[in-house]
């Protein structure tokens, strides 16, 4: 009976507040909840919760009594009120520690000086990621096709390459390529060496992703295409790869996000990207704020990228 729609004398629906037989405790709870956030902190909040409890029990056992929604509202406001009080107390008690935390992680003077520098250096980070990604996709696909070749020697080369690269730490590969090549007389810039190292490394991983994508395409596609007289490469190009690439876009996008983060390793051969500049700032100002800046710049790119990948996963799976 508490669920019937009730009308007043003019035929308009009554709100919960206006219905007859609304629990007084429920109304009181709501009022206390509002007071708990304004004129009567803590006390109002506690009373709001207590009254709400009482109201709910009464409403449960009395069919003619209404106002469950009001009680819930009052209870929620009460909880919010208590949390705000707790937060205020926390800040008050931890004042000193909080000030120290801010001085170390969000030092305003350091932010003013170092975050713009870090931001400019982040452009190098992005440039490195994009340049490397371009070559990674091309080389990765090439290695995948080698891996899938009918000729044993091509497959062997591909497997050795993939296994060795995936078996070594990226930082080691960066060092070997940068210093190794310079000992051989080939002097690549730090940016170029970094790009080469990232390409060589990530192409090995992406080759396996491409391979999985290609193998996931039903072999009937290749058979139908070859039966029409198309060559293996034509079939790959016009039939298999268009379908395979669509499938591997989500994992490849994830790899790109990882690549963006791994560019920070190139700091260790001295490339002036965001992490290196941040480290320098930390040394100069003796606080962590510059690195917090680096972190924020990364998150600014990686978190939206993750959402984009999620969206792509859903969109592309619908097509299948």
């Amino acid at each position: 009976m508490a669920n019937e729609i009730e009308l007043n004398a003019e035929g308009e629906m009554l709100s919960d507040f206006e219905k007859p037989n609304v629990s007084g405790w429920a109304k009181a709870s709501l009022i206390m909840g509002i007071l708990g956030l304004t004129a009567l902190p803590f006390v109002g909040a506690v009373l709001a919760i207590v009254f709400a409890r009482i109201a709910k029990r009464r409403i449960l056992y009395d069919d003619a009594l209404a106002g469950d929604g009001l009680a819930t509202a009052g209870q929620t406001l009460g909880i919010i009120g208590l949390l705000l009080v707790a937060l205020a107390v926390f800040i008050l008690l931890m004042q000193e520690r909080l000030r120290a935390f801010i001085a170390d992680f969000f030092n305003w003077d350091t932010i003013k000086f170092w975050w713009p520098k870090v931001g400019r250096a982040f452009l190098t980070t992005l440039k490195l990621a994009v340049v490397a990604e371009f070559f990674i996709l091309i080389f990765g696909l090439f290695v995948a096709l080698l891996r899938l070749s009918k000729l044993k020697i091509f497959r062997f080369i591909a497997v050795v390459y993939i296994d060795v690269i995936r078996g070594l730490p990226l930082i080691l590969q960066i060092f070997i390529i940068y210093f190794g090549l310079s000992y051989l007389g080939l002097n690549l810039s730090r940016f170029a060496a970094g790009a080469v190292a990232l390409t060589v490394c990530y192409a090995a991983y992406e080759a396996e992703i491409f391979r999985a994508g290609i193998e996931s395409i039903h072999k009937g596609q290749m058979e139908a295409s070859r039966s029409l007289g198309m060559t293996y490469l034509q079939s790959m190009r016009y039939v298999v790869l268009p379908q395979a690439v669509r499938r591997v876009i989500p994992p490849l996008s994830n790899e790109f996000i990882m690549l963006t983060k791994d560019t920070a390793l190139v700091a260790f051969i001295g490339l002036s990207e965001a992490f290196l500049v941040g480290k320098e700032g930390m040394g100069r100002d003796a606080n962590v704020t510059p690195l917090v800046g680096v972190a924020l710049f990364f998150l600014l790119v990686t978190i939206p990228a993750m959402r984009v990948v999620q969206y792509l996963e859903v969109r592309l799976s619908k097509g299948d």
Binding site: A224, S225, R226, S227, L228, G229, M230, V239, R246
Partner: protein, 253 residues
């Protein structure tokens, strides 16, 4: 590709064909001549090698031993350009294998454009004529996913025909279809047969064999057991294995 074929020579000649998959012997010595315009229906229990034989003909499987000549060209020879041979041999598959990322029209025109180097206009013209022939001209801009199984298979037939083959191979093309969609595909194949196309059809559809087939081959365990006129073999199977097979099939027809 030049064809070494005169009017009396076989379209397909299979000589002592053997095919092994590891220890399993799929084809155990096939000798067969298919003449132009014959509609050869191949039947037999599963595992008898029917599909394997078809797939050896267009090179999807490589023969372990033996030779296959298509219009005089030895398909089994390493030096043969298999892509050129496949322009002359069309194949339609049980699972249709249409290209899902392309429209119906593009499915049909892809090979003519890329292999025969036709212009898009030329290819489109031919494709529309063929799609019209199989009754699907109005679906030319649809994607395969929007077509029924029967429609997809008819597009697959049009796609194979677009290359202008001299022989068409059909590998159980109605086995994956809902029963009510089977006849539209068989009708299309019947029209093709009446136009004089040389066809090799692996199927379980005995009605088609009797009505459209000009020759019936019964295979079992990798060998040809009986070979002759469809109606004669149905009414009077000579070999015990043939009798056994038909009794099993016809008992629930």
């Amino acid at each position: 590709m030049e064809t070494n074929i005169d009017s009396g020579e076989a379209m397909i000649r299979i000589v002592d064909l053997h095919k092994r998959f590891g220890d399993f012997v799929a084809l155990n010595g096939i000798d067969l001549d298919v003449m132009p315009s014959q509609v050869v229906v191949v039947v037999g229990p599963s595992g008898s090698g029917k599909s394997t034989m078809l797939r050896c003909i267009n090179g999807l499987e490589s023969a372990t031993r033996g030779n296959i000549f298509i219009e005089g060209i030895d398909v089994t020879h390493k030096a043969t350009d298999i892509n050129k041979v496949r322009e002359k041999v069309g194949m339609v598959f049980q699972s249709f294998n249409l290209f899902p990322h392309l429209t119906t029209l593009k499915n049909v025109t892809l090979a003519p454009i890329k292999v025969k180097k036709m212009s898009a206009d030329e290819a489109n013209e031919i494709a529309l004529v063929l799609l019209d022939k199989v009754g699907l001209k109005d679906k030319s801009d649809a994607y395969p996913a929007h077509l029924s199984g029967g429609q997809q298979q008819r597009v697959a037939i049009a796609r194979a025909l677009a290359m202008g083959p001299d022989v068409m191979l059909f590998d159980e093309v109605t086995s994956a279809l809902d029963p009510e969609l089977v006849s539209e595909v068989l009708d299309t194949m019947k029209d093709l047969a009446l136009e004089g196309m040389t066809m090799m059809v692996v199927t379980h559809e005995m009605g088609f064999a009797k009505e459209v087939g000009t020759r019936l081959i019964f295979m079992d365990e990798g060998m040809v057991v009986e070979d002759g006129d469809p109606t004669q073999i149905f009414n009077n199977p000579k070999h015990p294995r043939t009798q056994d097979f038909f009794s099993k099939i016809l008992s629930h027809m």
